[in-house]
Amino acid sequence: MKELGIEQLLGLDKFEVDDGQAHIVLDKAVCASCGAKPCTWACPARLYVLKDGEISFDYAGCLECGTCRAVCPHGDRAVTWNHPRGGFGVLFRYG
């Protein structure tokens, strides 16, 4: 089987993206001060990307697992984590 990149993997899933509200919000100042930045590899959807030394995060492809919140060395100070609003987010067809 061919190796699949993260865009291809997320492309298989169905999302109802909430354009009005991000369910995960980062404190960029705390993230900038973070040395390890484990979110950049631990997030199964690879939504935390380092760009010019700054973490950029796109909530649109979130699989809602909570790994970022669990792995973050700064916890709630850096990641304000919530579930997407009702009806929005990833929709597993198999699960």
Binding site: M1, L9, L10, D13, A42, P73, N82, P84
Partner: protein, 431 residues
């Protein structure tokens, strides 16, 4: 006008929540089952298998109507080390007959079915609603707030999964530590049913479960899994979050590496990936048990961390279902007594103790600590695979007897006899 108030408000239409709703509604209680997904099951995923005993007690013969995939009749554990592997393979065809032992299943369909059973008994299902916080009155949980709405109930059941913001906001549990959870990622891969039957050597329609330990997680604590469904297989890996934090290994790529490995690739050859998903797994057992009840609230299933992972047996759904049933039993009794205080709900913990949930978590209380031992994921899979390979190898060199082969491999792999003996002893006692 008097405010409308439910007897029970259940947050999360997964196995714990829907079981609780089903039993409470059946007993005549007014139940509201709230689900944040547009349909029950749309937010839920797991590895792939439910042990059937818990649900069979509640809905006898559930497999006649429930959307289960395959009854599991073959169990395999494989230790991986590069090109080598060695497997323990067990088949019991009796598991393929009623009352069956366990079923593979897919949660989108299964959870929707279980919620529909609760609805049939009279529970009201409200989908697409995210509960924001518990509603506190006089220090007691009196309902929930969702957006601008407030909904009142005598008791709120937190069945909202491993990331239970509800139980955390009610002060019944705290945020877990990285070492208490694992991250699981999974791909659902489509294959024709007859290919699954023959490739996994099961009778038509029967299922196989395959666990993997070793370099599938690149040596990190965790493992790989494969569950055969009707016309798909669920393939994935779980890695402890504390180790993942140190690893710099992207989870999605760990799974791709596992898929491409020489021992897995032939199993999924020709398949087509149809979904990618991820979830946290509570792995600390009693070590992460919250306060199970408070004034006006109970915590069930993954929200309470009710999971046992022994490597060869991983249980979550049967605990979730049994905890939902215990919650229902408790709430029905509390309603009869008119007491929804923590005191009035304290029977929940006893019910979990009298049943198997807390008894089994207690029995395996030291397993999570044992499973943190990194030798289980590095040294021992390498040792087992290497030893097996030597056992079968003939190369014309002078013959070596079994004992010398074992001793030689232990020496070559720098395995300490003391560690091996101690780990073996502990494993035997704790798993």
């Amino acid at each position: 006008m008097a405010e409308e108030k439910f007897d029970a408000l259940i947050v999360g239409a997964g196995p714990a929540g829907s079981t609780a709703a089903y039993l409470m509604a059946k007993a005549g209680l007014e139940v509201l089952l709230v689900e944040r997904g547009p349909a029950p099951g749309s937010k839920n995923m797991f590895g792939g298998r439910m042990y059937g005993h818990a649900l069979n007690r509640i809905i006898p013969g559930f497999w006649e109507e429930a959307p289960v995939e395959r009854p599991v009749t073959r169990e395999t554990i494989t230790f991986l080390d590069g090109e080598k592997s060695v497997s323990l393979n067990c088949r019991d065809t009796a598991w393929g007959r009623p009352p069956y032992h366990s079923f593979t299943l897919l949660r989108a369909e299964f959870d929707a079915w279980l919620a529909s059973r609760a609805e049939e008994e009279g529970a009201i299902l409200a989908t697409g609603i995210r509960v924001d916080e518990p509603l506190l009155r006089d220090g007691k949980v009196a309902g929930i707030a969702a957006g601008d709405d407030e909904i009142l109930a005598d008791v709120v059941v937190a069945a909202d999964g491993v990331n239970s913001l509800l139980a955390q906001k009610a002060g019944l549990c705290t945020m877990f530590a990285p070492r208490q959870v694992g991250t699981g990622v999974k791909q659902v891969i489509a294959l024709p049913p007859d290919v699954i039957d023959s490739r996994f050597q099961v009778d038509a329609g029967d299922g196989a479960v395959h666990m993997f330990v070793g370099d599938c997680t690149e040596g990190l604590p965790g493992g790989g899994f494969l569950y055969t469904n009707k016309n798909t297989v669920s393939l994935g890996v779980v890695v402890g979050v504390a180790a993942l934090a140190q690893s710099e290994l992207p989870m999605s790529r760990v799974l791709e590496g596992f898929k491409a490995g020489p021992h897995v690739a032939p199993l999924i050859e020709g398949g087509e990936v149809v979904e990618y998903s991820a979830h946290l797994v509570p792995e600390a057992g009693l070590g992460m048990l919250p306060r199970l009840f408070g004034d006006g609230m109970l915590v069930t299933g993954d929200a309470a961390g009710l999971v046992v992972n022994l490597g060869y047996v991983i249980r979550g759904m049967d605990f979730a279902i049994a905890s939902g049933a215990a919650a229902a039993e408790t709430v029905i009794a509390a309603k009869a007594a008119g007491d929804f205080s923590a005191q009035g709900l304290s029977g929940y913990e006893k019910s979990l103790q009298d049943g198997f949930v807390l008894r089994d978590l207690e029995a395996y209380r030291l397993a999570p600590r044992f499973m943190e031992n990194e030798r289980l994921y590095t040294t021992y899979p390498k040792l087992a695979a290497g030893l097996a390979s030597k056992l079968f190898e003939v190369d014309g060199r002078p013959s070596v007897h079994l004992l010398s082969k074992v001793m030689g491999t232990l020496k070559d792999d720098h395995v300490s006899w003391w560690n091996l003996a101690m780990d073996g002893w502990k494993g035997g006692r704790h798993l």
